[in-house]
Structures are given as structure tokens and as C-alpha cells.
């Protein structure tokens, strides 16, 4: 997780962190849903978010959408209330918990692929405040980066 954050962005702002977090969860969801299905994934996500909210009450604004995926709308609106270190720890907790629970329930069968999926989530160089725009896309895939493949 530390490696991923280090390669994903350097000293990201809360806003950038949030976008990385959203992109990462989205990527993990998309990959896991293929194998586990939306119903199972929803149940797992509810467990992860419930536990996360117990540790970081600010995360209680995250919710699982009825149609699948995690809703960030309310969470985004409250991001400004987060202190940078807390937000980073909270994001880290959710992602670690999500990967851990998925790994445990699938006997680590999905873990390598999920880790690979997560490592693809990064910012364009411009996005982190140098060449890109803060509102630019947050996820690149191997293909988008020039065909490094998965």
C-alpha cells in the first residue's frame, strides 16, 4: 500500500488523495465484481465500510450503492473537514481492509490481480500539480500508458 501511494502521487493534496482513493476502490470493485458478483461484493464492501467507519467516523459518509459500487458523493463534500494525515490513514485503512477481506474470503486467489490492478491506479503527471490539471483523469491503465500490459 505504501509503495502504491508513493508511486501514485507525491505529497498529494486531500483532493488528490480522495480522487486516488475513489479510483482505487473503483478499480478494485470492477475487477472483483467480475469474479464475485455484485451481491457478494456489496456485502463485503458493507462490512469493510462498517469497520472503517468505526475507526474513522468520517468514513461513515461512504456508502454502497444499490446498483453496485461505492458512492463518494457525500464523502467528497466533507473532505475539507479532514486533516491530511487522518485522510491518508483512513484511505489506507479502507483499501487494506478491502484487500484483506477479499483475500481471506477467496483464499488469496484474487490477491495478485487486485494488487496489480491497484498499482495501475496513478495520476497523470500533470494532475499532481506540475503538468496536469487537478481535475484530470486519475486512473491510467497499462494500455493508456503505452501498452505495458497487465
Amino acid at each position: 500500500m505504501t509503495d502504491w501511494l508513493a508511486q501514485a502521487a507525491t505529497n498529494p493534496s486531500p483532493k488528490v488523495l480522495l480522487r486516488l482513493f475513489e479510483a482505487a476502490l473503483g478499480a478494485l470493485w470492477t475487477r472483483a465484481a467480475v469474479t464475485l458478483g455484485e451481491v457478494t461484493l456489496t456485502a463485503i464492501a458493507e462490512r469493510v465500510l462498517h469497520n472503517a467507519a468505526e475507526n474513522f467516523p468520517g468514513l461513515s459518509s461512504l456508502s454502497v450503492e444499490a446498483t453496485g459500487g461505492i458512492s463518494f458523493q457525500e464523502f467528497r463534500e466533507r473532505t475539507s473537514a479532514w486533516q491530511d494525515p487522518d485522510l491518508a490513514r483512513a484511505i489506507r485503512f479502507v483499501l487494506v481492509e478491502f484487500l484483506t477481506v477479499l483475500g481471506t474470503l477467496t483464499a488469496e486467489i484474487l490477491t495478485p490481480e487486485l494488487h496489480a490492478e491497484l498499482l495501475r491506479v496513478t495520476l497523470f503527471e500533470g494532475v499532481n500539480g506540475t503538468n496536469g490539471t487537478p481535475d484530470g483523469p486519475t486512473k491510467t491503465t497499462g494500455t493508456e500508458r503505452g501498452g505495458n500490459g497487465s
Binding site: 451481491v39 457478494t40 456485502a43 463485503i44 458493507e46 462490512r47 462498517h50 477481506v101 481471506t104 474470503l105 483464499a107 488469496e108 486467489i109
Partner: protein, 731 residues
């Protein structure tokens, strides 16, 4: 390459259930516990919960409309596994009855998840889940509900036990059963004449579990499952000390050869009254005396009755029980529960560290089992218990009268390591007991039936072959360098100078011809040279014998008084070949005898001993004498006074090294006793017939009957035979 990861298991804490499930319930699995009301579903589940419950492993127990929580808790308190301190801290009971009644199925799922999120349980129980079948509006709704519950439980890694009164039809048609990971089925029905409970794992994903139905009981300690098929595996455990068990029962060990290998189980078969219980009880008692602990499980005789039986035989069983060397466990026949008692016996044997085990009797223990295959399996389990304990087991079993079987069910003997058969036969006015080692694996034992007596002191066995396990080995040869004087004046020159040491001499003759005198002189001659001798008389009593000897001037009484000669009288009525041979061997060994006279061996021929057996017995006797280095003389009475056509009339000649024929010969209008040497092994002999004289001083050899003198033959003057005791038989 993907690494295989074993699924973590949750121990049930129920004896043997984890063995049946190969380690316990898979963590995170959803298992249905089904069965009719009263089959034990709730108790089974609660026992699992309380075994596992702790602050770090919490249990959430939902009650639906089946049984109010308060009622469930009240009954729960009577079980040993119940721990009130765990309530709420580790075990949380939630009654869903209200919400089910008011809001129906739709709200239940959310409520359940709400509690799961709050408690984060390791184990979730829903009792009963079958209620949802009745509350669901449609099969689709039920399936969706079940699926959601199952998925959520899985996501929370909670191991779920869903209880319900499901039947076999549900397993095939209820869609919920395709979702769940396991199905445990509890049942209750009559079996072997009594109501019994059973449990069976119908399904358990990812587990090569036992498919068998296993009986169980509910006691104050909770549920106890009996699964000998999976719980009783044979293990090789080396026994400390000697590798064979000696029974220490009088002479039984002689026919058991080197002894019984530890870990063996022996069937002790016989019809009623043949001594199975006494033999088995003595096996335990003698072991205790020798420092080997023993346990006897009795299904017929109470401890008091067994103690009384032992007391009557002179055994102090009470003392051994007080010392902790013997345990007697009485289980009345009506109380027998085969699987339960198998487990109990195993525990008692291990707890006591018993080295001797008696199950008296296995035929009663298994009397309700009608299937021979199950009987065989249960005997196998008993054998496994004994083997794993490194003990030796005696399993008495009743054989029906008139049966050709060696066991009650006809299958046990294939499983056990050995079979001892006890029998009795009517002989005259008495019943004679016999013991036979019918089978004993890896042990060279004495074959055939051996006489057995139960009397003061217990069981005494009289080995037929006198303990000589090499009974089939050729007898040692006579010593051609050493000759013994026969004690009969004039006889030694006819047989090359005397009787070869270790030789067997058969003296065949009709009544009154002088056989007894010849035997006495043979022993007295030895006594002169300080060679101890044993005179065995099967015909005349000792006093009669002394009187006869005295009349002839033979110093028998004085020699007996000096201890050089012993006289052993065995009446024909009480003579039992098996006992006789053993007693004889013991006396000869104790006396360190050099000579033995057996007069008359033909008295052993009774209506109960056929000629073949007599011949066989005499042969074994002669071999035994030779093995002991004893020179023997045995007399045989013939029916013919004068016929020389047959020497022994019984085909015994091959047994003898020397064969002497005494006959009457008619000459000059009177009968004259004569002697003819028929055979001498290892030396030349005189082939003529000689007159013999029995007079003061004993028997002596005279002229040849044709008047010719032999080279060293003395012709004693014929004297009138002196009178002897009034009771003397007419010769």
C-alpha cells in the same frame, strides 16, 4: 502455481464430531442442522457455541418463532457446557419473534445484519431457519432471502448454523440447500430394540467427511457422539517389557508356547458352564498378582457375585481391587449401549493403564446386534481398543449347544488374534473339561484339546504333550555306551548286557505272569546304585504292592522310605490321560528319576480313550521319558495266555526299544511262564524262549523251553510260590 490453502476449522467441542467432520466446521461456512423436533438440534448447536464463545470469538444466537429465548435459556442451564458468565459478554441471544410477527420477512434480513455488524460474531445461529419457509410469500422470495443471508454471513466470515425441521425432500427441492455449505442431519428412531439418536453429515463442502450415520446420546454433559469407525484407529504401540504376556494360570502358559503377544485379543468360546468366566477372571487375578493391572467388564455377573466366585476358589480379589490392580465394571444387560460402552471401555482401559482386559461376554454385549457384519465390526473395534492400549484381551463368548461354530455369531474368530475353546464331555458319571488353543497368531502353541480342571486355587490345565512344544521332533536316541542292569537275574545276558540308557522297554504279558515283579526289580536295581525311580501303578494300590514285594523278599518299603523310589498310584476310574501325563512329568522331574516303571500302561485304555489315542499317548510318554534321560519299563496286559502271534495286540511294538514277551507255555501238563526277547534296539539279543521263575527273591530267567541251555542261563530250581496278601488279584 497456486498454493493450496487449508480452510480454517472451528472445533465443535462435541466428542467425535470433529473427527466425523475431519477437523470441525469450516470457518465461514453456512451449515444447516436439520432434524425433527426433539432430535437434539438446539442442544448440539448450543454446545458448539459455548465451546467456542469468548470475548474474541463471539456468538450471536437468533431465536425465531420456534422457541422463546427465555425458555431456551432455562433448559440450557442444566447442561455442563453452559456457562452463565459467557452470556452477553461472549454469547448474545436475540429474539426475532417480535419483528417476525409484526414486520415479516422483509425486515428480518436487515435486522440480522444490524446485529452482525454490531457484534461481529464468529458464529451465528438462527433457530429455526425453517420459519422463514413459512413466512416467505414465494419460493423466489425465500431463495433471495436465503441467498442474501448466506452471502452476508460469508462476507462477515461468520460460521453459521441454521436450524430447521427439514426432511430429505427439502435437501432435493428446497433451493436454499444449494446455497448452504453443509447439512448435518439428526434423527431419532428405534434401533436394536431401543430409541436411539443419530447424526449424519450429508454435505460439507471441501471436506472428505464421514458419510456414515453415527449414534449419539444427550446427557448432562451435552451431546456425545459415538463413531468408532472413525474414532478407533489401530495404532502400533510398542509394549514396555517382555513382548509376550504370560497368563500365569497353572500350565496354561505351557500350551500357549512363548506367550500371548501384547496387543492381542483372544476369544474364549464355549457353551454355558465350560469355565469361560472363571478362566477370564483368573487371567485378571493372576496378572494383578504379577503387577499387571486388569479390568473386567461384566454384563452378566455383578461385582459381588464375581468376588464370591473368586473367594470360593481361594482368590483375594478384594485386596487386588483395593490395591488398584483390578477394576470390575458391571453393566447390567438391559443397560448396554454398544457404541456408548465401546467408548466408555476405551476410556476406562486407558485411564487405568490396564494390561489385561476381559469383556464378559462379547456375546451378551452384542446380543442386540443382529447383523453379523456389524458384530464383526464391533469386535474389531474391541480388538483395536485392546491393541491401542498394548494390553491382552480375553473375550468370553457363548457358543450355542450343539453348534459347530467356535463363536456366537460365527464371524468373531476372523477378527481376533486368537481363539480359546472350552468344552466339556460326559465321561462315565462325570463331565470332563477341556481347553483348546484353536488359533493364536504368530505363536507356536500346543494344538489339540487339553484336560482342564477347575478346583481350589482356580484353573489347572493338563497339557496333553506335557509342555513339549517340540512334540513332533524325533525322540533322542538311546545311549549305546551305557547299559543299566535290569535287576532280573539272567535277563541282561539275553539283551546284550543290560538295558541301554534312555531306552523304552515294553513288557507284554497276560495276567499273573510276572510283569509287576519285573517292574519292581527294575527299580530296585536302580536304587542299589542310588538311581531314583518312580513306580506308577494303575492297577494295584501301594499297600498291595508293598505286600507283594515283601512276600517275595523285595525291599520295596525300605527303598521307598529312603526316598529312592516313589510309588504313584492312579486309579483307573480317575485316570485322565491328559492329567496323568502332566502329573507324571512333574513327579519325574521333581524326583530327578533315572528309571520309571509304568504298570500296566494298558489300564489307560478306557471307553473314553480309543486305541489310536492310547497309542499316541504312549508314544508321547516314551518320547518324554527319553527327553528326560529316563530309562523306562512299561507293562502291557494281553488277553491271551499263550498266543505268541501278536506281541502287544495293540500295534505298540514300534514305540519300544526293547520288546519282551511273557507268555505261558504248556509243558508236562502244566503252564510254565516264559520270556522271549522280541526286539532290542542297538544290540543283539537272544531269540529263544526261556522259562522264568517267580519265587522268593523275585523273578529269574531259567532254561530255554526246549531244554537247551543258553550261554549264561542259570536254571533256578522251581519253588512253590509264597502266599501273598488276601486282596491280591488272581494272577
Amino acid at each position: 502455481m497456486t498454493k493450496n490453502t487449508a480452510i480454517e476449522r472451528i472445533e465443535t467441542g462435541i466428542p467425535n464430531l470433529d473427527l466425523i467432520l475431519h477437523g470441525g466446521l469450516p470457518k465461514g461456512s453456512v451449515v444447516v442442522v436439520s432434524g425433527p423436533p426433539g432430535s437434539g438440534k438446539t442442544i448440539l448447536t448450543q454446545q458448539i457455541c459455548f465451546h467456542n464463545a469468548s470475548p474474541s470469538r463471539r456468538v450471536l444466537f437468533f431465536s425465531t418463532l420456534s422457541e422463546p429465548t427465555a425458555k431456551s435459556l432455562r433448559y440450557l442451564q442444566q447442561f455442563a457446557f453452559f456457562d452463565a458468565k459467557k452470556i452477553e459478554g461472549s454469547v448474545t441471544f436475540v429474539d426475532l419473534g417480535v419483528i417476525l410477527r409484526s414486520q415479516g420477512l422483509s425486515s428480518v434480513s436487515a435486522l440480522i445484519m444490524e446485529h452482525i455488524k454490531r457484534v461481529k460474531p464468529a458464529i451465528v445461529v438462527i433457530d429455526s431457519f425453517k420459519v422463514f419457509d413459512d413466512l416467505a410469500g414465494s419460493r423466489e422470495e425465500l431463495r433471495k432471502f436465503g441467498y442474501e443471508i448466506a452471502v452476508n454471513l460469508m462476507a462477515w466470515e461468520a460460521t453459521a448454523l441454521l436450524l430447521g425441521e427439514y426432511g430429505p425432500g427439502d435437501y432435493e427441492t428446497n433451493p436454499f440447500f444449494s446455497i448452504v455449505d453443509g447439512v448435518l442431519v439428526l434423527a431419532q428412531r428405534e434401533s436394536l430394540g431401543e430409541q436411539q439418536r443419530f447424526i449424519r453429515a450429508v454435505k460439507l463442502r471441501g471436506t472428505d467427511h464421514s458419510r456414515d450415520e453415527h449414534p449419539f446420546v444427550i446427557t448432562r454433559t451435552g451431546i456425545e457422539i459415538f463413531a468408532p469407525r472413525v474414532a478407533l484407529k489401530r495404532e502400533a504401540r510398542p509394549h514396555a517389557g517382555p513382548d509376550r504376556c504370560k497368563t500365569r494360570i497353572d500350565k496354561l502358559d505351557e500350551i500357549l508356547g512363548p506367550g500371548i503377544p501384547w496387543g492381542s485379543s483372544l476369544l474364549v468360546g464355549g457353551v454355558a458352564g465350560t469355565g469361560k468366566t472363571v478362566l477370564s477372571l483368573e487371567f485378571i487375578y493372576r496378572g494383578a498378582e504379577a503387577g499387571e493391572k486388569g479390568i473386567l467388564f461384566s454384563f452378566e455377573e455383578s461385582q459381588e457375585r464375581l468376588l464370591a466366585a473368586g473367594h470360593g476358589l481361594g482368590w483375594d480379589l478384594e485386596r487386588q481391587i483395593k490395591r488398584g490392580m483390578i477394576e470390575i465394571v458391571f453393566i447390567p444387560q438391559p443397560d448396554i449401549m454398544v457404541e456408548a460402552h465401546l467408548r466408555m471401555m476405551q476410556e476406562r482401559i486407558i485411564a487405568m493403564k490396564a494390561q489385561r482386559v476381559v469383556i464378559d461376554s462379547v456375546s451378551v454385549f452384542l446380543h442386540k446386534v443382529t447383523d453379523p457384519q456389524i458384530s464383526r465390526e464391533r469386535i474389531f473395534h474391541l480388538c483395536s481398543i485392546v491393541q491401542n492400549a498394548g494390553a491382552v484381551g480375553f473375550f468370553p463368548t457363548d457358543i450355542p449347544y450343539g453348534s459347530q461354530k467356535v463363536s456366537r455369531f460365527g464371524v468373531e474368530e476372523t477378527v481376533v488374534d486368537g481363539v480359546i475353546i472350552l468344552s466339556s464331555t460326559e465321561e462315565g458319571q462325570e463331565r470332563e473339561r477341556y481347553i483348546e488353543i484353536y488359533k493364536l497368531r504368530n505363536t507356536a502353541h500346543l494344538k489339540g484339546r487339553h484336560n482342564m480342571v477347575i478346583g481350589k486355587g482356580g484353573v489347572t490345565v493338563f497339557p496333553r504333550y506335557m509342555g513339549n512344544l517340540e512334540g513332533d521332533a524325533p525322540p533322542p536316541a538311546v545311549e549305546i555306551t551305557t547299559r543299566l542292569h535290569s535287576g532280573i537275574p539272567g535277563l541282561d545276558p539275553l539283551i546284550g548286557g543290560g538295558l541301554l540308557k534312555r531306552s523304552v522297554t515294553l513288557v507284554s504279558g497276560s495276567a499273573g505272569v510276572g510283569k509287576t515283579i519285573m517292574g519292581l526289580q527294575f527299580l530296585l536295581e536302580g536304587a542299589k546304585k542310588r538311581q531314583p525311580g518312580l513306580y506308577v501303578t494303575l492297577e494295584e494300590g501301594p499297600q498291595q504292592l508293598f505286600a507283594s514285594a515283601e512276600a517275595l523278599g523285595l525291599p520295596l518299603q525300605a527303598t521307598v522310605d529312603s526316598g529312592l523310589i516313589q510309588v504313584l498310584y492312579v486309579s483307573r476310574e480317575n485316570l485322565r490321560a491328559g492329567q496323568f501325563l502332566t502329573v507324571l512329568a512333574d513327579r519325574l522331574t521333581a524326583l530327578k528319576a533315572s528309571r520309571v516303571a509304568l504298570d500296566a500302561a494298558t489300564q489307560m485304555l478306557t471307553e473314553h480313550m480309543a486305541t489310536d489315542e492310547f497309542r499316541h499317548t504312549l508314544y508321547k510318554l516314551s518320547v518324554r521319558f527319553k527327553n528326560l534321560g529316563i530309562t523306562s519299563l512299561m507293562t502291557l496286559e494281553t488277553s491271551s495266555l499263550s498266543s505268541t502271534e501278536h506281541v502287544t495286540e495293540l500295534g505298540l511294538s514300534p514305540i519300544a526299544d526293547n520288546l519282551i514277551m511273557l507268555r505261558y507255555s504248556q509243558a508236562g501238563g502244566q503252564l510254565t511262564p516264559t520270556l522271549t526277547i522280541i526286539k532290542t534296539r542297538g544290540s543283539d539279543h537272544d531269540h529263544r524262549t526261556h522259562a522264568i521263575t517267580v519265587a522268593k527273591g523275585g523273578m529269574s530267567i531259567g532254561t530255554t523251553t526246549n531244554g537247551a541251555h543258553g550261554p549264561a542261563i542259570v536254571v533256578p530250581p522251581r519253588k512253590k510260590r509264597p502266599p501273598i496278601g488276601e486282596n491280591r488279584k488272581t494272577r
